[in-house]
């Protein structure tokens, strides 16, 4: 299990800056999609995909989950899975998916 204490710090600095740039670009794209009327019919899936991408980038790299033990990934994704399931179930029960 490699912890970044052992990896050389400089390369990781560059990696972090690149990740931050990608996040900034994705945020800009999200806002752009919001302002482009033509994309509105498909705005929900597009924005959700970009949101998930930003979410995963921060969790995998900034929070170092990608390099840490699988136990931590399990702990986090389990909580996330139950939370997302409860959100979707409640929205379905309150009729948010049936037009």
């Amino acid at each position: 299990m490699s912890t970044h204490e052992t990896g050389e710090p400089h390369a990781s600095t560059r990696l972090y800056v690149v990740i931050a740039l990608i996040l900034a670009v994705l945020t800009a794209m999200e806002v752009m999609v919001f302002y482009v009327e033509a994309l509105h019919p498909v705005i929900v899936p597009v924005l959700l995909v970009m949101m998930t991408a930003k979410f995963s980038l921060v969790v995998m790299f900034f929070m170092h989950l990608k390099f840490d033990s699988r136990v931590l990934t399990g702990v986090f994704t389990w909580g996330l899975f139950i939370a997302v399931s409860i959100i979707l179930a409640l929205m379905a029960i309150f009729g948010k998916f049936t037009s």
Binding site: M1, H4, E5, P9, S12, T13, Y16, V17, I19, A20, L23, A24, T27, A28, E30, V31, V33, F34, Y35, I43, V44, L47, L48, M50, M51, K54, F55, V58, V59, F62, M63, H64, D68, S69, V71, L72, V75, F76, W78, G79, L80, I82, A83, V84, I86, I87, L90, M91, F94, K96
Partner: protein, 188 residues
Amino acid sequence: MDASATGIPNRKLGMWTFIGSECMLFGTLIATYLIYRGRNLVGPYPDELLNIPFITVTTFVLLMSSLMMVLALSAVERGDRAKSMVFLSLTALFGLIFLGGQFFEFSHFVREGLPLSRNLFSSTFFVLTGTHGGHVAVGVVWLGTLLVRAAGGKLDRSHAETVEIAGLYWHFVDVVWIVLFTLIYLLQ
């Protein structure tokens, strides 16, 4: 502390477990916001008030604070006291800027006739973003204590784990905002 059965330090596993539990807290708040979206009987309505350019800037600031946090952690691990203090203070500063932006947005809404008790949007929006803001504030105070210890020379390489735990908390609060930003502001 003898090595744990999984090799993960107790405090790190503890923080991730707490983050798993916090997913449910924010999940329930988000579910309530999404359920009550569009059910307001009285104005003002979200599309009249939500200022996208302004909130995009504060979102960018919070994203960059995550960058500062990881750079601060790298500095602490390298034992570079000066850089760790710079990046820690930048992280806390960006956090404060975000909180300032949120305070401005809240006061703007109240002035536009949307106090907390106005309608469903005011109730769910203020409690959801307020809870997140509260978490950011706790993070800023936490970073403040780390800054004080760094200044006192008590935040060297051996304390990297303490900074990493604070970093996990800070990044989680940023990740929650990534979700809120899209769900509240962009997916009206």
